[in-house]
Amino acid sequence: MKISSKKVALTALLTATAILLGVVESLIPPIFPALPFLRLGLGNVAVGFAAIALGCPYAVLTALLKGALVGLIAGNPMMIIYSLAGGVTSAIVTILLINLRKLSLPVIGVLSACVHNLMQLFVAAAMTSTAEVFTLAPVFLVFGAVAGFGTGTVQFLVIRALPERFFSF
């Protein structure tokens, strides 16, 4: 695989956007005060965009850097494990579905957000070795579906609105 400098630059730009969105997201007050770790996941717009315009390795890289750096900047080191586990699995699902080219972006967002949240629940269950965390699963899945639909819609609009010369080479 030939690595072009344009692609590297765009990956860096998208990673920066994803981190910025993640940090801003952690500054706004939580939507449900009881569950402060439920967040919108706007950074996944950048990951999905990388998956469309750049391809698999760049999107995975974006997701990895986003998970590690947002955790370092905005959260505690424990958060990194959760966001990496969720972020990378959901990025892989996003990449597979995007390359399938059958579903549209909002639905891809819903599916990948659900995978993201389920993976985080699995990690939480493994780390605390309690199965009780799965009683939260319905809240996580419903919220994830709504948030995923939202981020997918943003992706859809970004792809539509952005002139192709900015990301096609």
């Binding site: 639905v107 319905p138 096609s168």
Partner: protein, 134 residues
């Protein structure tokens, strides 16, 4: 240096509709699966206690494990507890809605007799309706 796959992706998602036929199928599948999951998640909890209120005051609390027939104090209603559930079997109200409500056994279930201001509530172990039972 054009990567064929991302070029195809860009072209496809540039012109793709907001929701297509496959999305419709997937959303249908999601709704179907979540309905099934919700049915298990919201499976009614078995009632453990029944609490009787008359005019808003708690007058009686009985475990559902013991079969009894009790007259609700201050009224002419007969509360029957049998087989883990409760029902009002006799009353002097005009419409007999409380009797027609029949047998209630799930936690959160209610029997109401409006004319006599009777409310019978079934609560489970973890009831948030009547608080904590000993």
């Amino acid at each position: 240096m054009r990567s064929l796959r991302s070029e195809k992706n860009i072209r496809h998602y540039k012109s793709a509709p907001y929701l297509g036929i496959w999305d419709f199928y997937v959303l249908l599948l999601i709704i179907f699966l979540s309905t099934i999951a919700l049915k298990y998640y919201l499976a009614p909890e078995e009632g453990k206690f029944c609490t009787v209120y008359v005019a808003g005051e708690e007058v009686l609390e009985l475990p559902l494990s013991v079969d009894t027939k009790t007259e609700i104090p201050g009224t002419h209603a007969l509360l029957t507890i049998s087989g883990g559930g409760a029902s009002i079997t006799e009353n002097d109200c005009p419409n007999k809605i409380c009797i027609k409500t029949g047998f209630v056994s799930d936690a959160g279930g209610v029997i109401v007799c409006a004319p006599n201001k009777i409310v019978v509530r079934i609560s489970g172990e973890k009831s948030y309706v009547t608080g904590v039972h000993g």
